[in-house]
């Protein structure tokens, strides 16, 4: 039932995808100070990929993503847990935020940022897992 291949949708998806992804990264990185953050950015990215999925189908999305959405979920959880480890190393209570400034580009790296990237990946992975699973069953119906 997902009709892939209409011209307008195809062109729009191809043009919009990089813009949407860049926007989602932008939201992710500015999240700590301005509206945004991992959850919102993950939803934006998931929307972008969903659009691509509608235009080109599941196989094309899989070929572009290279990794399974379920692996994204796993990586996100791993990052989330990993962000708790530096505090442990410094002997501080569990989950204490750690901040480092990277000198040359004056970028503030921190465990909350790593954690937020984890949130981003989990949200993106979960939504894509659900959507691709739904599309898959649709195709099972469509190929009698």
């Amino acid at each position: 039932m997902v009709r892939s291949g209409t011209l307008i949708l195809n062109v729009a998806a191809r043009l919009l995808l990089p813009l949407q992804l860049m926007f989602s990264l932008f939201l992710l990185l500015r999240g700590h100070d301005e509206p945004g953050g991992g959850f919102i950015a993950g939803l934006v990215a998931a929307g972008a990929f969903a659009l691509y999925l509608f235009a080109y189908g599941r196989r094309a999305l899989g070929a572009m993503l290279k990794v399974s959405p379920r692996d994204l979920v796993g990586m996100g959880l791993l990052l989330g847990v990993a962000s708790t480890l530096p505090a442990w190393w410094y002997g501080e209570p569990f989950f204490t935020a750690q901040w480092w400034t990277i000198p040359v580009i004056d970028f503030k790296a921190s465990t909350p940022l790593i954690f937020d990237i984890g949130v981003y990946l989990v949200v993106l992975g979960s939504v894509l897992t659900a959507i691709t699973a739904l599309v898959k069953t649709d195709q099972a119906d469509d190929e009698p």
């Binding site: 100070d33 945004g36 953050g37 991992g38 929307g47 959880l77 989990v122 897992t129 659900a130 739904l134």
Partner: protein
């Protein structure tokens, strides 16, 4: 020492690897660890003998006052020695017993893990650490009983043992928590020093009940004795080790350990003496009904455990000395007898004593070992068992309370045990030679070494009991009798216990002579036995399954509407109760509303109403969408951009998901009756009303200090971020977020699994349909 114990677990995990290197000799190689521990313990003996306590401190979770400190006094030393020395023997024995068995590495993994848990249990000073080791022994015991996992009976017995001991473990945990509250410490040493305070405390009765329940289930006391004989489904080395020498004594150890803290009171004395005596008599009585050599021994173990409990209950100085001697004697002879039973099984292929006979010609050395160990079990001189039994009878005679009840029971147990010993040692080895499935011959040295050494120790300690004086005195000091001069002797003079012993000898021989006839008489009691505690256990388990089935059908019947109603009702009950109890609901509020705000609110209400009355699914979805976007608009109006963005994105994704599923759903139809719809209306209306009241309560003047003030003030200085919502999500409340991440991941996996299996099922069905089409 802690390193040795924890390292033991690592060694256990390495067993399969070691097995690749050492093959059949793995068990002997691994026995080096308990051997080293035993050597270390012997090295500490001078300290222990001097009456000192060895402290090995190690912090574990300092924040919760949980330590992994080991405390080694006489009591702990005795138990640790028994565990490690018998551990060495059992490992050597099982290397031979299970030679060439496919699952030998798995066996070694679990038995080493068990050994270390047991060591931890008897050495730990902290209640929490003790409990952790306690549960570990239950779990490893479960795995060992169910070692032959293809056998249904073994699996069932394993499960029964697990349920009974872990059920008791739950009670024990509750008891420990109360103990720590009442004694204001998690350390056993400190608790024992505060016995008086504990016994006066209001929690004393409940905590004693819980601790006793835990100890009684673990040590197979009446009425929980039934799991132990069933646990004989385990391989024989396991029975020798866990179910006679060590694990079942964990409960006894705990009682002895807590004797200074809890013992000596009226409820303690009554419960322990009576339960112990009853267990003792039950065990001895049930033993003579069985012909399976392992069951015979198992019931006599139940009897011994009862005796130990009873002696702790009596609690006099003599009783405590008797306790230690009986404990040591029992571990030695029972370990030996179980290993002999394993040899008999191994060599003859049967466990039925009535099927064996005349084996002394084929295996004279085994017969000798069995005879020595059985003499100790029977309590005949000159063995350690005799001294233990004499002391036991002496303390029963000296008991101040309930002597009238426990003396006959003790006497009954004494002569029945003598009969059991005779059955085990005489039946298989003497009389005419009988045909057995295997042709018996002397077992290899690896099998005989263990029981031979244990039997030799029984004999040596019996002949020269003075060797044990210092050990018994140190152990008794650990149980809380203070410093006692102990002089054990084989000959106590002609006194009442000796007369009783002689009488029990006569009766025991009589029982043995007429055993076959007696057994067929007792078989008539079968219907009565079928109503024993084990039947109660079965009924309990069946009832549990029935309740589980009922509640699953009731609460989780697969209808979304049912889940929603349940969830909302729970919410209504809990929140509503809290709200009404703590807060007087008011309906007054200042209405200060702009026109555009009123319009947004109106849009929301209209969307909600429309969603309920629409006759088409698409229209209902659109109405819900209107509501969602109105909510987003509200967030914008009250300057919460993060929430607004999130709400908008979620709405958009909902549309995407709906596009995917909408076509697959059945037609929109009315499935519920008018009554159900009315019920749903009431639940929905109440939920709405509750939320309204909650909002009004939050907005009304009286409220708790606002937590958001803290967040606003500290977001920049502590969280280094201006976006408070984000700082809360990834820093202040990051643990909550992490939990939610896991929930989200689980939900995604759930969706994936559900849809994939559905698709597979569909494909399988359509494939079979195609095949059928081809055939037709």
């Amino acid at each position: 020492m802690q390193l040795a114990v924890l390292g033991g677990f690592v060694l256990a995990a390495m067993a399969p690897l070691l097995h690749r290197w050492f093959a059949a000799r793995t068990a002997s190689v691994m026995a080096l660890l308990p051997a080293a521990i035993a050597a270390w313990l012997i090295g500490q003996w001078p300290t222990i003998a001097a009456g000192d306590t060895l402290w090995l401190e190690w912090a574990w979770v300092p924040g919760l006052d949980i330590t992994l400190s080991f405390l080694i006094d006489g009591l702990a030393w005795l138990f640790a020695m028994l565990i490690s020395v018998i551990g060495v023997l059992v490992l050597v024995y099982s290397g031979e017993y299970l030679r060439g068995h496919r699952d030998l590495p798995r066996f070694l993994v679990v038995i080493i893990a068990f050994m270390m848990s047991m060591l931890g249990l008897v050495l730990a000073d902290n209640l929490v650490a003790l409990f952790v080791f306690w549960e570990l022994t239950s779990i490893t015991s479960y795995l060992l009983i169910g070692f032959n996992h293809t056998d249904l009976a073994a699996r069932k017995a394993a499960q029964q043992g697990l349920f009974v001991t872990v059920g008791g473990g739950l009670a024990l945990l509750a008891g420990f928590v109360m103990l720590a509250l009442a004694g204001d410490s998690w350390s056993l040493a400190e608790l024992n020093a505060r016995g008086g305070q504990l016994k006066e405390h209001a929690l004393y009765a409940p905590l004693l009940a819980c601790v006793l329940l835990g100890a009684f289930t673990k040590s197979a006391q009446f009425p929980f004795h039934f799991w132990l004989p069933n646990a004989m489904a385990a391989p024989t080395p396991v029975s020798a080790y866990l179910h006679s020498a060590t694990m079942v004594k964990a409960g006894i150890y705990l009682l002895a350990r807590l004797h200074p803290a809890l013992g000596g009171t009226e409820p303690w004395v009554v419960t322990l003496s009576l339960v112990g005596a009853l267990t003792m008599a039950t065990g001895a009585f049930l033993a003579i009904q069985h012909t399976n050599v392992k069951k015979l021994l198992a019931y006599s173990t139940v009897m011994a455990l009862g005796t130990l409990t009873m002696l702790l209950g009596i609690g006099t100085e003599t009783a405590l000395i008797a306790f230690v001697v009986f404990l040591l004697g029992h571990s030695l002879y029972k370990g030996a007898l179980f290993m002999v039973a394993g040899i008999l099984d191994h060599e003859t292929g049967t466990k039925d004593v009535t099927a064996m006979g005349g084996l002394r010609h084929a295996m004279p050395r085994t017969a000798l070992v069995a005879a020595v160990a059985a003499l100790s079990l029977a309590g005949l001189p000159p063995l350690l068992g005799f001294i233990g039994k004499e002391l036991m009878l002496e303390s029963v005679l000296g008991a101040s309370d309930y002597r009238g009840v426990i003396l006959p029971l003790a006497f009954l147990a004494a002569f029945l045990t003598l009969a059991v010993a005779a059955i085990v040692a005489i039946r298989p080895f003497f009389g005419p030679l009988r045909e057995t499935p295997h042709t018996p011959h002397e077992p290899p040295g690896g099998l005989l070494a263990g029981p031979a050494l244990l039997a030799a120790l029984s004999l040596a300690f019996g002949l020269v009991p003075g060797l044990l004086d210092a050990l018994v005195s140190a152990t008794v000091a650990g149980i809380g009798a203070g410093q006692v001069e102990v002089h054990l002797a084989l000959w106590h003079g002609l006194n009442l216990p000796l007369v009783l012993s002689l009488a029990s000898l006569g009766l025991g021989v009589l029982v043995f002579r007429h055993w076959d006839r007696l057994r067929s008489r007792l078989a008539r009691l079968e219907p009565l036995m079928a109503r024993g505690p084990e039947a109660g256990y079965e009924a309990l388990m069946a009832g549990m399954v029935r309740i589980a089935e009922w509640q699953t059908r009731f609460l989780q019947n697969g209808y979304m509407r049912n889940y929603l109603v349940m969830t909302l009702l729970v919410l209504l009950g809990l929140v509503g109760h809290a709200l009404l109890v703590r807060h007087t609901p008011t309906l007054s509020f200042a209405l200060d509303l702009y026109l555009h705000e009123a319009m947004v609110a109106g849009l929301m209400v209209a969307g909600a109403v429309a969603a309920c009355v629409m006759r088409s699914r698409l229209a209902a979805v659109a109405a819900v969408g209107v509501m969602g976007y109105s909510i987003a608009l509200t967030f914008v109006l009250f300057s919460a951009p993060d929430l607004a963005i999130t709400q908008l994105l979620v709405e958009t994704l909902t549309v995407i998901l709906l596009v995917l599923v909408l076509f697959r759903l059945p037609r929109f139809a009315t499935l519920s009756t008018p009554v159900e719809r009315l019920r749903d209306l009431v639940v929905a209306g109440l939920s709405g009303g509750l939320i309204t009241l909650l909002m009004l309560a939050v907005l009304s003047g009286e409220r708790l200090p606002r937590i958001s003030d803290y967040m606003v003030e500290n977001s920049q200085p502590l969280g280094h971020g201006h976006n408070i919502v984000n700082v809360i999500l990834v820093d202040f409340r990051a643990l909550d977020t992490l939990g939610e991440m896991f929930v989200l991941a689980l939900a995604a996996i759930g969706v994936y699994a559900m849809l994939r299996f559905h698709a597979e099922e569909y494909e399988a069905r359509s494939a079979s349909r195609t095949r059928r089409g081809d055939d037709g």
